[in-house]
């Protein structure tokens, strides 16, 4: 596949992530912060997000598995995850966290367990999508091409 085709495929794929609500405008902010002097900024931040999120999801699973659930602790973890997903533009994860927090406030164990499943689902979905997108970018760069900038207004 030649570079032009790969670039078009990447643009279409990235646009679909915005259309489907996986990513929001904050992700564009991240891309705009990447330049020749910081060529790996997006990969670095996204990798940090993956590591941080997986740890938080483990902590959440453990916290909700206790005989006496400490909802303050659960809420604190969800707050962190909401923050980082918001900062990178992972919209669906962020929204799942917002719902999660309201059930933490109610101290509703069944609902919070469901929310945890929901957040995990959204997280693994966006992780998969981002990894695919970054792989496409890598292929373009390896073939000597540049990564096209997504324009707002679609």
């Amino acid at each position: 596949m030649e570079v032009g085709q790969m670039q078009r495929r990447l643009v279409d794929y990235t646009k679909s992530l915005f259309m489907e609500g996986f990513l929001d405008a904050q992700f564009l902010q991240l891309q705009q912060l990447q330049d020749e002097s910081n060529p790996d900024f997006v990969v670095e931040v996204v990798s940090l997000f993956f590591d941080d999120s997986e740890k938080l999801l483990n902590d959440l699973t453990m916290a909700l598995d206790q005989p006496n659930v400490d909802f303050k602790k659960v809420d604190a973890h969800v707050h962190q995850l909401k923050g980082s997903s918001s900062s990178i533009g992972a919209q669906r994860v962020k929204n799942a966290c917002i719902a999660f927090r309201s059930f933490c406030e109610e101290q509703n164990i069944d609902a919070t367990l469901r929310c945890l499943q929901q957040v995990k689902q959204e997280y693994y979905l966006v992780k998969n999508k981002l990894e695919t997108m970054l792989r496409l970018e890598q292929q373009i760069v390896a073939a000597g091409g540049s990564i096209p900038m997504i324009e707002l207004g679609f």
């Binding site: 902010q29 991240l30 940090l48 962190q80 923050g83 980082s84 918001s86 900062s87």
Partner: protein
Amino acid sequence: MAVELGDEPHVLAVDDNLIDRKLVERLLKNSSCKVTTAENALRALDYLGLGNDTLEGTVSEVNMIITDYCMPGMTGYELLKKIKESSVLKEVPVVIMSSENIPTRISQCLEEGAKMFMLKPLKQSDVKQLKWHLMKCRN
């Protein structure tokens, strides 16, 4: 604190969230600021020379402090108060960031002397605004 015009302003960014620290650092560096990050208020106080663990001769000059509001242990609001209580540091502009838009929180911080309150997630336009304020303070 006398600072030469044309020098890169030095900003201390305080946030317990690793991703947010990375983002604010990049945003500030993109606006030609020198950046030091701290993962909580106590470390920030140490860095500023107000902490219990500050070593002799390691206090650094800082032109602005930007801090998250919600942090475990000491909040950004409590950090703001400590800075404003210090005769050495009270003139340093402090900016509070939060992911939550709570009017009482905002007015509380501004009343305590915060220069600005910014909603997270931060964008480039926010940091440009910040830099403009910073340059204004220096002149």
